[in-house]
């Protein structure tokens, strides 16, 4: 196993061979990937060294101190957080070689074509069809929705129905879809905030070669679990300093603007401050468990907690602003490059955070998951388990 000292030595070697000050950004990132210092827990040859994930912090600290460029991970959150671990787990050697390097460097941005207008919480009921032409390409038709970054993406992870005659979970296959295919039509989907952070994606006779299938035919649901588990880790697992989340801006306003204070708001602010601090500690505890290789069930709850907190805190913040709370910064339709929940004004935060209890699994579904998988309570009665997808009510 490669230890921290060895990682420091290899990082120093990388910096010596490719001084950040005189090296092109992309050249540096590629060299970093090839040195196995991109994500150290990945295998050798795929940007890693097969060592402990917790040791990545050693490399990151050294590189940051040396002023090295990073891969701007926020631009490719879905690629790094969801597509990459899924490709790593289920991809062929050729797929891993082809996709992981430009994904990590940010040369190729990824998006996720999972949700559909008719398949939200019941994602496995999805209706986008992929039909194979003999032994050749797959031809895909359907509509996907809530696709962030689709307009910037070069590739998508896609799940589609390949067999409508079997129960819903069994008839899905996982693909890597070329977003430049002429049959892919990306249309902005305007949200209640005024902007279009997401898209609708219409797929019309999109041709996908079988070499871009990930996992076995009919195994798409299983493959997608890897993606979805990583999504919830990514949403709930950000490391925060005290007052690092939404409680930060409202606390700052409270301190700077005594004229806005009321007794009622004070009580509510203190209560939320405590809850935000405790949620932060819970996240820290989860990370300490992960670092020891003992993942706890706490992760399932983190997203639930942050969704509610973000909504309550931003709601309080709008009220705190009084007359200004009656205003909004800008309703102009735009397509933001990055999603920043804490960015912009209180009104934006209030509206955007409404999505926190919907995206990546609604809070209601997550409560079911906690109740059934963590507490072991009986699951909901299922009427769709043994019915062919084509015969389900819709």
């Amino acid at each position: 196993m490669i230890d921290a000292a060895e990682l420091k030595r290899r990082t120093a070697e990388l910096l010596a061979a490719h001084p950040p000050a005189t090296t092109d950004r992309l050249d540096f990132l590629r060299a970093r990937f090839d040195a196995g210092l991109a994500w150290v827990h990945y295998p050798e040859g795929l940007g890693g060294l097969g060592t402990a994930r917790s040791l990545q912090a050693v490399v990151d600290a050294e590189l940051e101190a040396a002023g090295a460029p990073d891969n701007d991970p926020r631009r490719n959150g879905i690629g790094l957080g969801m597509a990459a671990p899924t490709i790593l787990k289920y991809g062929t050697d050729e797929q891993k070689q082809r996709y992981l390097r430009p994904l990590w460097t940010g040369e190729e941005v990824w998006c996720q074509l999972f949700s559909e207008p008719g398949a939200g919480s019941d994602l496995a009921g999805l209706g986008t069809r992929a039909v194979r032409e003999g032994d050749g390409d797959w031809v895909v038709n359907g509509q996907k929705v809530w696709t962030s970054s689709a307009h910037n993406a070069r590739w998508a992870i896609l799940i589609a129905r390949t067999d409508p005659d079997v129960p819903k979970h069994a008839g899905i296959t996982y693909f890597l879809c070329d977003m430049t295919d002429p049959g892919v039509d990306v249309r902005p989907l305007r949200q209640i905030t005024g902007e279009a952070e997401f898209n609708e994606v219409f797929l019309t006779d999109v041709r996908i070669p079988d070499s871009r299938r990930l996992g076995e035919i009919g195994d798409g649901w299983k493959v997608a679990q890897t993606t979805l588990n990583n999504e919830r880790v990514a949403i709930g697992g950000m490391r925060l300093p005290r007052e690092g989340g939404m409680i930060g801006p409202v606390s700052k306003t409270w301190r700077e603007r005594p004229e806005l204070r009321t007794h009622d708001l004070h009580q509510r602010l203190l209560k939320l401050w405590v809850e935000a601090e405790v949620a932060r500690l819970t996240g820290e505890r989860l990370r300490q468990q992960l670092a020891l290789g003992q993942p706890g069930p706490e992760g399932a709850g983190m997203k639930l907690a942050f969704a509610r907190l973000n909504q309550e805190i931003s709601g309080l913040e709008v009220e705190l602003h009084g007359e200004e709370g009656l205003l909004y910064d800008d309703w102009t339709m735009r397509r933001p490059e990055l999603v920043d929940f804490v960015g912009r004004d209180a009104g934006y935060r209030y509206l955007r955070s409404k999505g926190n209890s919907i995206e990546g699994g609604t809070s209601e579904v997550l409560l079911n998951i906690v109740a059934e998988r963590v507490l072991g309570l009986p699951s909901e009665p299922r009427t769709d388990k043994d019915v062919a997808w084509k015969d389900l009510a819709r």
């Binding site: 005594p258 203190l270 405590v274 949620a279 500690l281 409560l367 109740a371 072991g376």
Partner: protein, 357 residues
Amino acid sequence: MSDLLYSEEEEALRSAVRDLLADHCDAPGVIARTESDAPHDLAAWKALTDGMGLAGLLVPEAQGGQGATHREVAVVLEELGRAVAPVPYLTSAVVATEALLEVGDETLLAELAAGRRIGALAVALNVAAGGAYQVVRHEGGSLHGEVTGVADAAVADVLLVPADDGGLYAVDAADATVTPQVSFDLTRPLATVTLDGTPGRLLGDAEPAVRRALRAGAGLLASEQLGVADWVLTETVRYLKERKQFNRAVGGFQALKHRLAQVWLEVVNLRAAARNAADALSTGTDVDVAVAVAQAYAAPVAVHAAEEALQLHAGIGMTWEHPIHLYLKRAKSDSIAYGTAGVHREALAELVDLQAP
């Protein structure tokens, strides 16, 4: 960043305490004891102290203790909370012991650490660190007056009594009149301490000793509250898997299981807050904020968990025979003990500079 996990030694300690309490503090026994002449379980206390040396965890080895930290004490309190064990651990081994550590009284420390004597700080249970407390008169070389709401005073051998001259006095319980009060929490009964020309030995300044004792009490109470909440959740989940209505286990109904999932989430959060407070007390870093956060969070969570447990048990939960009421009573009393959540939030307002209007 504080260490929020449990070490292997802490887990071993937990399981030893749990085994001991399984032998001593079964629910029917605890319920029966509450209406007897001896609401405290002194046999369990003897096993915890004589047998395991747990009364001396906070006392350095040189002073006759175990030289452990608040982290281990917190684990013991989690287990005592899970069993709503009627033993004076929080009051004697934490609060009175912390006061004695502050005034540096070696004799009493050694006696309390060994479990040979039980101590109680004669301050009402609802008082938070920094809050006002009752004092007795020091007059003509003896003590006069009354202090109400003193938890576990009925079994105390020595009372640590703040007086109006600013001193903290050790009073032999045999020299005082200790009158039990009918208490909401059946497993941590209160008593009135009356002194009438009672002799006391001056230990030192009361104010810093009381403050330190109550702060540690509040911070570690969060671990007891965690134990209470954890037990009622576990027991309610177990019961709802077993209880059938409408030809199904009622735990399968979303209206019920979502409520349990919510309690689970709160308990998970409370565990982080309680570990953080225990770790802060043991390292001395960020103690005031960690304790205030833990208490402001713990009290409503433990009460909510117990209230949900009662509602989800429904009829059986309303009976004297079922132990849920012991936990509800403990949780509700704990929500007042060493300062309410609101008092701790007010303290935070100063500590983190979120001032009142």
